[in-house]
């Protein structure tokens, strides 16, 4: 069984300085590297103290420089807010600088404040998320990119650098509904599931996702993931403390 940690950058009541928040997180990441965790999964959020990490590539590069073997997971990049070519560039650069340790998780976002501030209509989030993911993967796997989409179009662009991992880093998609599971499975992506599933629901969702993977001809090896909060004492975990998911073979 592999383990990762979802690393938030919460700033509760702003009791300490933000540099202290980052310093403590980096100390924890160094412990992960030395104790056998598979990955740190860095969260991205904007415009609140819920978690103050607006850039996974920036923080991930620093984390990679202070670790040797730990994978650097994006948990998740809020794809609907990005220009896909810049996202492809920055993640590929992180993959190179980390020695091929990136796991790319992507989601469409949920916080209305973020959509409003970035000027992205929330009703477009699903379509933008899908298009950005499609473009990032094409930018990584094609020497030159020509693309005509609903939101972005490009003509004969060379996107550099390419990721160190070929054909690209493992891809994990945030998914919380049967259509999302089916979409991720059809593309052969791993999934990060919503935080509210019971163990029983999780089993059913994983079975459905597995069925969809097989139906689309993708290899599986029984790899599954889940992100419960854990506590050695019977205390209540906050809602953000769970993020179930599942990894495809090799991810």
């Amino acid at each position: 069984m592999k383990f990762g940690i979802l690393q938030f950058f919460s700033w509760p009541e702003r009791r300490v300085t933000l540099p202290t928040v980052y310093q403590r997180a980096l100390q924890r990441i160094e412990i992960m590297d030395q104790t056998g965790y598979d990955a740190v999964w860095l969260t991205e959020h904007h415009f609140s103290d819920y978690s103050v990490c607006p850039s996974i590539p920036v923080l991930g590069t620093y984390a990679a420089a202070r670790t040797k073997r730990l994978h650097i997971g994006a948990g998740v990049t809020l794809a609907a807010f990005y220009h896909p070519l810049r996202l492809a560039e920055e993640l590929a650069l992180l993959d190179i600088l980390s020695g091929g340790r990136v796991k790319w998780g992507a989601g469409r976002g949920f916080d209305p404040r973020e959509f409003k501030a970035f000027g992205v209509p929330q009703e477009e989030s699903y379509a933008r998320f899908h298009e950005v993911v499609d473009i990032v993967l094409r930018a990584w796997t094609n020497e030159r990119l020509t693309y005509k989409g609903k939101f972005f179009s490009f003509e004969d662009i060379e996107v550099l650098p390419k990721p160190l991992q070929q054909p690209h880093p493992p891809v994990w998609m945030a998914a919380g509904s049967p259509p999302a599971f089916a979409w991720a499975a059809a593309a052969g992506h791993s999934i990060l599931m919503g935080p509210h599933a019971t163990h029983s629901e999780l089993g059913k969702e994983l079975a459905f996702y597995t069925q969809q993977l097989v139906a689309h001809g993708h290899a599986i090896a029984g790899a599954r993931s889940r992100s419960p909060g854990f506590s050695p004492s019977p205390r209540l975990n906050p809602p953000h403390a769970m993020l179930p998911g599942r990894a495809r073979s090799g991810c």
Partner: protein
Amino acid sequence: MFGTDIDPVQRYLDSAIIHGTPERVLDQLTQLREEIHLDYLIGAPLSHETFMAFTDKILPKLR
């Protein structure tokens, strides 16, 4: 999302969150691994204390 007659906090404690003593957490994870073939887990610890407890007392027994 939740039934109107179900306390969401209790629902989390009973059915969604893995919590308790290291032995209890170990049992729950072992059960999930066997029942739904869980073999990758991403945790979000409540504190540095809980992170270190998981790292020292549970992680070595499940890897």
